[in-house]
């Protein structure tokens, strides 16, 4: 299945209702009543309760303003130096601290993959990398700022846990739940996620969380993919299609058994993610289902393995099919409807 919606409409600059780039650095909407970036709020709260928690900023200090005001002595500015940030964090972690490195997703994992592997994961140290602005959230800034390979790289690193919260409440839940986890954790924050949960959900580490029951087709996503799936499921229900919606916030360890069980149950799985089709959830689900020898129809809405367009995120989501109508359409196509 193609990851791109055929004939997608790209608005021209002449159109008056074109979406605008919002200020992704200082105004991160959550639609859940949280005034600012959820990761920034949660880390400040975690820091109140746990003196081992430090924050290191690789030039993303805005998110850490609250933490910094409450715990200035535990805020460490690292400058524009991601690799050094991870290795310094490894040294801090080896000395009893739980350091959180905040970075832009486009640079956090790719620039530091070797430091994450050799320094943090290999030594089982509790370094946390919080990657903001995932996928195409910085789409207007250029291809350099697309963060679309990070899951593929991160999940290949033994001992590195990977979580991709579905919304602001999910951020709260997963950041709280991973403070004491052994080894490093990559927390992938999707600013463009729509609300899924009314309160912080309870995940079991390494397991899928079922958000909606349905017998006809499985919609599984991480990050912004979950909110899209949930809204698409509501549309599908109006047309008589009952979709199961799974939140794959835990990408590593990954719940292959849960995927296989769902594939057996519905016989059709559609993955939804703001990540390259290579190596992300699309690959993980295909690997799980294929290894289990289960016959199921597989589809993926992901970013194609090609040089991506640059533009305001809303335009790019249209272009690449990360929309509620497209999720519903692809689900039906998977069922031959």
């Amino acid at each position: 299945m193609t990851a791109m919606q055929e004939g997608a409409h790209v608005p021209s600059v002449e159109e008056s209702d074109e979406p605008k780039m919002r200020d992704v650095f200082s105004d991160v909407p959550t639609d859940t009543g949280l005034a600012t970036d959820p990761a920034g709020v949660v880390i400040a709260e975690l820091g109140d309760a746990d003196p081992r928690i430090l924050t290191l900023s690789a030039d993303v200090g805005v998110t850490l303003a609250e933490f910094r005001s409450r715990h200035p002595e535990r805020y460490i500015e690292m400058g524009i130096a991601e690799t050094n940030s991870i290795s310094v964090a490894a040294g801090l972690a080896a000395s009893g601290f739980v350091p959180y490195v905040f970075s832009m997703s486009a640079f956090g994992v790719l620039k530091t993959a070797e430091q994450l592997r050799t320094g943090a994961a290999y030594n089982r140290l509790p370094v946390r990398l919080v990657g903001r602005l995932t996928g195409l959230a910085m789409g207007f800034f250029g291809t350099s700022h697309h963060a679309v390979e990070d899951v593929a790289v991160a999940r290949a690193i033994t001992g590195l846990s990977v979580v991709a919260p579905a919304d602001a409440q999910s951020v709260i839940s997963l950041m709280r739940a991973t403070v004491d986890r052994e080894g490093p954790v990559y927390i992938r924050i999707a600013e463009d996620a729509q609300p899924v949960y009314a309160e912080p959900p309870t995940y079991r580490p390494g397991e899928l969380l079922r958000v909606r029951e349905g017998a006809d087709v499985t919609l599984v996503g991480h990050g912004m993919g979950v909110g899209l799936a949930l809204r698409a499921a509501a549309r599908l229900a109006e047309e008589g299609v009952q979709a199961e919606v799974l939140d794959a916030a835990w990408l590593k360890p990954f719940d292959a058994e849960g995927v296989v069980a769902s594939a057996r149950s519905t016989g059709a799985i559609l993955t939804i993610e703001d990540h390259d089709v290579v190596g992300g959830l699309a690959s993980m689900v295909a690997e799980a289902v294929g290894r289990a020898g289960v016959a199921a129809a597989l589809g993926s809405i992901a970013l194609p393995d090609e040089r991506l367009e640059v533009g305001v995120p809303a335009q790019l989501y249209e272009r690449y099919g990360l929309t509620v109508p497209n999720v519903a359409a692809q689900a039906k196509a998977l069922l031959g409807r």
Partner: protein, 304 residues
């Protein structure tokens, strides 16, 4: 052929610690002659260990031998029976490929049984060619990927500041390792955070794996470069026991605000003529029985 690897009679008597076992204090007594003998003992031990494994880094380890001897038998505050003791001085082997010279030292000081040395080069050993902190007691951080340990040491030194502990963190880098850009991110951060509790020791032996370091990529003038990044620099003969003792005995108090770089000018393969003459050939290799006998005689013959 069995090599006489009895340690020199300079192993210090430890003082009693307040809780987790005896502490080896800073400034332990060792004469320059004893230090030179200890360094040659490290060379002989290295030859024996590499013989067990079948392959190893002779010349890179030999250039570090006097630095190892000075730090571990004079300078570092250690508690071998309690390797995680929070107030210990840290030592990070940035040039992880010299770990073979560290294993006999750590065994001799009591971090693990000497019998462990017999496992070197076998599957399941705690003593790798590059050190692994999860396997070997006394290793403060794993290494093997060049260019990262000065950053890690910066983090450990920062932790010392945050915890108000007075330990020092030493990081031994190769000179070729300084070609890694991350090293300079760490050099910048260490002076920014005024980490006078951090000491970088550069084993400036002038050679990398494939040839002269500065032929591949010029790294000089090292002293001026570190100074321009805000570090205090001492440049010494890295094989001169008196110079090493003097440099490390006069380090500023850990509460000082300027990180220190000791540039140890060394010879790759030091102590074995044929390796000094062909350091690249012995970056990674194995002495056959005849060469081994010759090399051991050369080293043993000058040991007092």
């Amino acid at each position: 052929m069995r090599v006489d690897t009895a340690p020199p009679a300079t192993t210090p008597a430890p003082s009693d610690g307040d809780d987790g076992g005896p502490t080896l204090d800073r400034g332990r007594s060792i004469t320059p002659v004893e230090l030179a003998r200890r360094a040659d003992w490290i060379r002989l031990q290295t030859i024996e260990l590499i013989d067990r494994a079948g392959l190893g880094h002779y010349s890179s380890t030999f250039s570090s031998a006097e630095v190892f001897a000075t730090l571990y038998y004079r300078t570092l505050r250690l508690r071998p029976s309690d390797p995680a003791w929070p107030d210990r001085d840290r030592f990070l082997l940035g040039k992880g490929h010299a770990a073979t010279g560290l294993w006999p030292v750590l065994a001799d000081l009591g971090f693990f049984p000497t019998e462990w040395l017999d496992t070197f080069g076998t599957a399941g050993t705690a003593l790798n060619d590059h050190p692994d902190m999860l396997r070997a007691p006394g290793i403060d951080f794993s290494s093997g990927s060049l260019g990262q340990n000065l950053s890690v040491g910066t983090g450990i030194a920062l932790a010392g500041r945050l915890q108000e502990r007075d330990y020092r963190t030493f990081v031994l880098t190769g000179d070729g390792e300084l070609q890694e850009g991350q090293v300079w991110e760490a050099v910048m951060a260490a002076s920014h955070y005024r980490l006078g509790n951090l000491v970088a020791v550069v084993d400036a032996n002038g050679f990398s794996g494939s040839g002269p370091t500065s032929d591949a990529m010029g790294i000089e003038p090292l002293a001026a470069r570190f100074e321009s990044f805000g570090w205090a620099v001492r440049e010494i003969d890295g094989h001169d026991p008196e110079a090493l003792l003097s440099a490390f005995d006069t380090l500023p108090d850990p509460s000082a605000e300027q990180p220190v770089c000791v540039i140890a000018r060394t010879r790759k393969g030091k102590g074995v003529r044929m390796m000094e003459e062909a350091p690249q050939a012995w970056h990674l290799g194995h002495l056959g029985p005849d060469l081994r006998r010759q090399v051991v005689e050369e080293i043993s013959g000058r040991m007092p």
